[in-house]
Amino acid sequence: MTNVKKFEKLTKKDLWKIYFRSYWIRTVNCPDRMQSLGLTCAITPILEKYYNTEESAEIMTRYLEEYFLTNPIMSYWIIGIIVSIEEKIAQAISESKEFSRDIISAVKTALMGPLAAIGDGLYNGTLRPVVAGVACSLALDGNAFAPFLFVLIMASVNIFIRYTGIFVGHEQGANFFEKLQSSGALKRIIEAANIVAFIVVGSFATTNVSFKLGIKWMEHAAENYTTLQSVIDGIMPGILPFMFTIFTWWLIEKKRIKPITLIVVYLIIGILLSYLGILV
């Protein structure tokens, strides 16, 4: 029933084509299918290479209708693996062997959750805030290169993950992540990234959440004011911004208060307290 034009292995050029078309992965998302249109675009080079119009229509419709959602950058690993399976399917058809496309749906469903967790956790959740935080500190010190440094680092890591996703993913196939997961390597990497994030946030919160208490009083003998802030700084420097951040964490995590609500509330409280002279 299905025919392959002529089977030959995917070349580097084909893989590069897939790489570039995969950039549409999250361009047009919709609630019922999420990134399925992007995934369909990503595999079109395979259709062009192996199939005629009729088969292409069938395969594209199937890809379009299947829900797909993962971290857009890590999706390149899924695409690389899908491509390696598609290649095997095309080979099977050309040798008139039996095949089933269901394995692609299975791989997609199995990988999209864990890869979303890795991508959102490591790239968006750790790398970007840490690099952005460093860039912000540099920028607030007046370093003009900070924004360029930020985009340069993020773009390089981004391109590296995408490139290895298509090329290594295609080479290694579906077993790669299974191996990574069963050896415990993945868990260790995520924990190590969390260590970096905890240390850096601890330091950032102390230095970048900047407010001081304005409460002050006159010591009986001295001529100068003593501020409450200087007393606190003598005991534990920078403890107020640090504790304030932990408190905010507790509000978000345990009290389930939406960040957007906190932003409005903090802004209003800050303006009021400053107007009353309690914060400076």
Binding site: W24, L47, G142, A144, A155, N158, F211, P259, Y275
Partner: protein
């Protein structure tokens, strides 16, 4: 380059040119940001990029850098997870910087102004996803069923064009018509209130860090947070030194844990 900018700035501040140039520049940078976010994802949507670049093109890089970095810290760990809308950092930082420069309002005011804009921008991502997303994505259905690969590949390009307009047009309108309005509002404000806005907006950085903390799932590692505090508060270590020490500890953690697993076998 700066000389060129100053000349240009003088020219358009004479008042006859209106706000066309700043409005065009700001909406262009915001538009490029959203196009990047939906394709390359080099993170040029972030305030640490949008702010300084808008500043550079409007002739005041330093103001852009300062406002961009402050807004970035406020929204440090915005993560797009599925359909959830997030406060928009691109439109807000672009507009805040443009208004700070063009209307000549204090930077603290501009930063405080960015907050409502960011919340409004969150609404944009909801429209993009739920209202525009459905018809745009389903444009591909017919060509796909006909096996027309070229037409299928055209749909995301067309979608990208429409979506970028969704961000470009409001930004243009906000800068073009908002500049005079904001300037006259701020002129009437007492100085104490302007300072208060500054204090209020500086509290917001805590929210960015707190959101980041709630994303970290290995809770047994929380003591490292205190380690970070000690490095900053007592050792006065700057941020690059802190990141380096953190990287060393993280790699030690990987090495020692590996041994543990091997011994266990």
């Amino acid at each position: 380059m700066l000389n060129f900018q100053q000349k240009f700035l003088k020219k358009y501040r004479k008042g006859d040119e209106k706000m066309l140039y700043p409005a065009l520049i700001t909406s262009l940078i915001v538009g490029l940001g959203i196009i990047d976010e939906l394709t390359l994802q080099w993170q040029t949507t972030r305030a640490i990029w949008t702010g300084p670049i808008v500043g550079l093109l409007l002739g005041d890089f330093e103001t852009g850098l300062l406002i961009g970095a402050t807004i970035e810290l406020m929204f440090l760990s915005n993560v797009i997870v599925g359909a959830a809308g997030i406060p928009d950092v691109t439109i807000s930082s672009g507009i805040a910087v443009a208004l700070a420069i063009v209307s000549d309002i204090p930077t603290d005011m501009a930063i405080a102004l960015a907050v409502p804009v960011a919340i409004f921008g969150q609404f944009m991502s909801t429209i993009r996803f739920s209202v525009l997303g459905v018809p745009l994505a389903h444009l591909a259905d017919k060509p796909a069923s006909e096996g027309n690969i070229k037409a299928v590949l055209r749909t995301p390009k067309f979608g990208l064009f429409i979506i970028s307009l969704l961000y470009i047009i409001p930004t243009f309108i906000a800068v073009y018509f908002g500049a005079d309005l904001v300037a006259s509002l701020v002129d009437k404000m007492p100085v104490e209130l302007i300072n208060a806005f500054g204090v209020g907006s500086r509290l917001l950085a805590a929210i960015g860090f707190a959101m980041l903390l709630s994303m970290l799932k290995s809770r047994k590692l929380t003591p490292f947070l205190i380690f970070g505090y000690v490095l900053a508060a007592y050792f006065k270590l700057n941020i690059i030194g802190t990141v380096l020490i953190a990287l060393v500890i993280a790699s030690l953690y990987i090495v020692f844990n590996k041994k543990e697993v091997e011994n266990y076998d």
